[in-house]
């Protein structure tokens, strides 16, 4: 089966600074893949290169069967993207924003279809509002709707639950789970080990631009549970967070 995403030897640099240092990763069809790492590990740079926002210094990115570096627009058409900080035209209403982004993916929606879609994410009473007038949770739901408006095979989510309350976070996890059941593959970055354990099939722990380890959360815990550093980090039963701390260190990152 063709993977939804295959990244080989991806390297992203900002002048002399190497943000992503030759990583390989593969997201299988219908899989939720988590990219974990402290601040500055290179997660967002890797994601930005896959999204086509950054030109990588080297490496290959294949989305489905499309070479993203050779056919960037064709590759973007297969992707649903939710950026870390999303904003839309400040003077457009939600209906107009949905129409715009649907149009950019070649999807034609009637006003009633748009209202129906907004109703599905509980925004049926906000259709005439501007994006900035929504609460954090509503903004997140709306951004996810825009990211999947064209029914993409692969969805990239950059810290999707950042700033959400527990209810909002749970709702989003349910939505992500539904995406998987619909056959979509998801690549997400997160700082939340709870989230990674709850929703991800496999996770990769990244630091200093490199992937340190990859596996299912349970497999990673099992593989590292005898490591003295992990035992030192653990308060009782070993968790994914203990493995993460042991692999990436305790020092604070900017």
């Amino acid at each position: 089966m063709t993977p939804a995403l295959r990244v080989t030897g991806l390297r992203v640099t900002y002048g002399p600074v190497v943000a992503v240092d030759g990583i390989d990763l593969e997201v299988r069809e219908g899989e939720i893949y988590g990219l974990l790492g402290p601040n500055g590990a290179g997660k967002t740079s890797a994601l930005s290169a896959i999204e086509g926002l950054l030109r990588p210094a080297s490496g290959d990115i294949v989305i489905g069967e499309i070479d993203a570096r050779a056919h960037p627009l064709q590759a973007k058409a297969q992707l649903g993207v939710q950026l870390q900080a999303t904003s839309f035209h400040s003077s457009l209403t939600l209906v107009e924003i949905v129409r715009l982004y649907a149009g950019l993916y070649g999807v034609t929606l009637s006003s009633s279809q748009i209202r129906e879609l907004l109703g599905e994410i509980n925004l049926q009473n906000e259709v005439s509002k501007r994006f900035r007038e929504l609460s954090g949770g509503q903004q997140q739901r709306f951004s996810l709707l825009i990211a999947t408006i064209h029914d993409p095979a692969l969805v990239l989510l950059d810290e999707p639950t950042a700033g959400l309350d527990p209810q909002g976070r749970r709702q989003l996890w349910d939505r992500i789970e539904r995406f998987r059941k619909e056959g979509r593959s998801i690549l997400l970055t997160t700082h939340s080990m709870e989230e990674a354990q709850a929703v991800c099939d496999r996770v990769a722990i990244m630091d200093h631009g490199q992937i340190l380890t990859v596996g299912t959360p349970a497999a990673l815990i099992a593989a590292h549970s005898d490591d003295p550093k992990v035992r030192q980090a653990a308060h009782g039963e070993v968790t994914l967070e203990d493995v993460f701390i042991a692999l990436t260190g305790r020092e604070l990152r900017d």
């Binding site: 299988r28 069809e29 219908g30 899989e31 999204e51 086509g52 926002l53 489905g64 069967e65 499309i66 627009l73 064709q74 973007k76 058409a77 297969q78 992707l79 993207v81 950026l83 900080a85 999303t86 904003s87 839309f88 035209h89 400040s90 003077s91 457009l92 107009e96 924003i97 129409r99 715009l100 982004y101 149009g103 950019l104 993916y105 070649g106 064209h150 029914d151 993409p152 095979a153 998987r180 059941k181 619909e182 056959g183 979509r184 099939d201 299912t216």
Partner: protein, 262 residues
Amino acid sequence: MTDGVILPQRRSVAAPTWSSSLKVLLRADSTAQLRTSQSLLLAFALPLILLVATGLGKNSAALGGPAFRISLALTVGLVSIGTVGYSLAIARDRDTGVFQRLRVTPAPTWTIMVSRWIVQLGAVLVMAIVVLAVAAVFVGITLPPQDYLFTVLVTLLGSAVFLSIGQAIVGLIASADTLNAAGRLLYVPLIGLSVFGNTDRLGTTVELVSRWSPGGCLETLLSAAMGATAWSGQSWDALFASLGYTVVFAVIGIRWFRWVSQ
């Protein structure tokens, strides 16, 4: 986990054509432009106020003839729309991440910017027609039919000059706040220089600088287009200088433009 889940068959989706992307962007950008009351005020009210105000008072004739009044109003409109309004709108959308969101869609990147330019040119066209209509109906300044056409064409050329200046500003200044301050400061020289292009009251050096400034060149061209002066070698010089300004500022603005503010 994936085990036990039957995955629906997914096919790759074709990227839409550039023309369909441009069409939806134009629709959204023009709606946004119409909703921005501040930009509408700057684009229309200010030129009209100037058009009327320069005809008031006993010494109004000393400011210049009817053609000068119209060209001053058009220049103010062009600076408001093309340089200040455009660059501020771009900087704000860049700061808030609107462009990054658009750039992850399959729309070719150039269509995002071209859509903005077309909307600005449309606003300039409407502004020019409104100024000329108000001048004719309410202020009593009329032109021969062909001069209206030349005036609108020169105004569109002027909008290319001032849009490219706006592009250069937004290319060189990263922050929307800094750009806001710089835009206000630029208002004075851009308009002031066009005013003093036809007078040597502040000395011949100021007059020379003024005449060759973007606003001064536009003033020369508008004056010829409206038949106030004959089309001459100076008009050709102003035309070539305007085209030169457009190319130079556009190259600067595009070369140094960043889609993100940091």
